[in-house]
């Protein structure tokens, strides 16, 4: 269903299919009955020593078993936000509770419940893939036997079986990234915090990682991940938070975010006089309005689609996550 919705969003579609697509949004992934809160953030504020205010007044409740994506461009404050949740960075003000424990006062306690993939972290080139998982599983308080079993589970789920005996130094960047994700998954933590987990991965590896993350959620894990990939946020998330200039400016299910758009039909085309120029994008309140514009402008090559998360992001921030599109609102 998710794939259908995406295709309907991005491809040239008919009015009927657009309406059908609209109806499918009724079956949202929003949780019908709110689950207990896994992560509660209140009034989070982070000012660095140089005076930069990286996060401002962020409130967020993440329910158990929920997957929340934090979306935003580089420098928006996503990583700062996640690093405070993982206890790596001390907030300037505000509070963070993880499964009821105070993350600021008891970082070790909350880290026992978390699996974390930092945006950038090094691994040991001379250790093999299996050695990494087994040794780091021991540091997560797993017994030898459980560490071995956890390593096998992660190796299988991340398609690293052919590489398990290889030294990490000989692996590709994408494989190393998967190892970092696997280290977070060891021991099936209750909360996964993944900072741009699929950055640098090829499309196939990205799909594989998405599958692993979704499986973790199915198994009961709560996930907070940051991304600047629209597709990743759309496909994986129960709810999406949008961060811009340090503020959480929007939070909701995809449908809730779509409902913020007054003009949710998107026509894009290239100027026939400048075929190599930027893509022109216009928004309309209805399909008919969009069609009227196409007829009036005598466009021959164009694309008409329902608005995407990218459009919502643009409507909220005035900026594009995907570069190369001329911003033109009808």
């Amino acid at each position: 269903m998710k794939q259908t919705r995406e295709l309907a969003t991005w491809l040239m579609v008919t009015e009927e299919s657009l309406l059908a697509s609209e109806q499918t949004r009724g079956a949202t992934r929003a949780l019908e009955t709110p689950a207990p809160v896994a992560v509660r953030v209140r009034g989070l504020f982070k000012r660095y020593k140089d005076g930069t205010e990286a996060n401002r007044d962020i409130d967020l409740d993440v329910r158990r078993g929920e997957l929340i994506s934090i979306l935003g461009p580089n420098g928006a404050g996503k990583t700062t936000f996640l690093r405070q949740i993982t206890t790596e960075l001390r907030p300037s003000a505000g509070s963070i509770e993880i499964f009821g424990a105070n993350a600021i006062a008891a970082p070790q306690t909350v880290k026992r419940m978390m699996g974390i993939t930092p945006q950038e972290a090094g691994i040991f080139a001379s250790l093999t893939v299996r050695e990494h998982f087994e040794l780091f599983a021991r540091l997560k308080d797993l017994s030898k036997a459980k560490a071995r079993a956890a390593a096998t589970e992660v190796i299988n789920s991340l398609d690293l079986v052919p590489e398990e005996g290889k030294r990490v130094g000989s692996l590709s960047g994408g494989q190393k990234r998967r190892i970092l994700i696997g280290l977070a998954l060891l021991g099936r933590p209750r909360l996964l915090v993944l900072d741009e987990p699929t950055t640098g991965l090829d499309p196939s590896s990205r799909q594989s990682v998405w599958g692993v993350i979704r499986r973790a959620v199915t198994d009961g894990a709560t996930v907070i991940l940051s991304t600047h990939y629209i597709e990743e946020a759309e496909r994986l998330s129960d709810r999406i938070g949008i961060i811009a200039q340090g503020r959480l400016i929007a939070l909701g299910t995809l449908d809730e975010l779509f409902s913020r758009l007054e003009r949710s039909y998107r026509v894009s085309y290239r100027d026939p006089l400048d075929p190599f120029g930027d893509l022109c994008v216009h928004y309309f309140a209805s399909f008919k309005e969009a069609q009227a514009h196409i007829a009036q402008a005598e466009l021959s090559g164009y694309s008409i689609a329902r608005a995407s998360l990218e459009d919502i992001y643009f409507a909220l921030t005035g900026e594009r996550l995907v570069e190369g599109e001329a911003e033109a609102k009808a």
Binding site: K49, T86, T87, E88, L89, R90, P107, Q108, T109, K111, R112, M114, I116, T117, P118, E120, A121, G122, I123, F124, A125, S126, L127, E131, L135, F136, R138, L139, K140, D141, L180, L183, A184
Partner: protein, 246 residues
Amino acid sequence: MSRVTDISSVFRIQLMSMRAEAGPFFLAALVFPAGMYLFANAVGGVARTPEQSRLRFLAGSIVFSLSLTSISWLGYLLLENRFTGRLKLFATLPLAPSSYIFGFLGFAFLQAALGTTVLLLIGRAAGVGMRPNIPMLALVIMLTVLCLCGFGVVIAARARSFTEGSLLTDALGAGLVFLAPVYYLPETMPHGLRFVSRLLPTSFAASAVRTTLTGGYQVGTELLALGLMAIVTLALGFRLTKWRED
């Protein structure tokens, strides 16, 4: 139990990750001190000097080996972890910073034990007259390593770059040996330096190693000084090694 597991896991991670460089690493810990022993003998004209000098050179080489192991190379490993992002990986775990450092100390003890053993064998082969008091020597070496490792940990935690940290650990690793009366008598030093150099940990270590190599026990002052210095340097190192930034 968890803490012991943590320390041993960090130790194993470091040990296993050093497999590829193990040969050069241990060789380097021996080549410099063994070379210094031979050099000091040659320069000091060992054929004409009393047995006491040869013992001083051997003890000095053991302290030099410990200094290189504990400050230069331990510092290098800690710096490497910090500036290649591996430290971040440890910081994501429910691991106390002190367990992380103790894991490295285990690695330093292993190197120190190997280096000292080989130097004792070289001394024996070179005919240095000694009756080492092994338990006391082990205690002296342990406290020396703890004290000197503290310097490495502090530098690794505070350095602003890998290059800066490496230069500092190298300079300190060698400097603490050559600025102290380790290879030579304190009387041969410039007057102003004499008193200060006697307070360096390497001075206490060299004195204690010399005494225990001849079977002596009278190293109470040296052990106390090294113990106190170890507490201060390691406490500072623990304090500066943080998982959380402000």
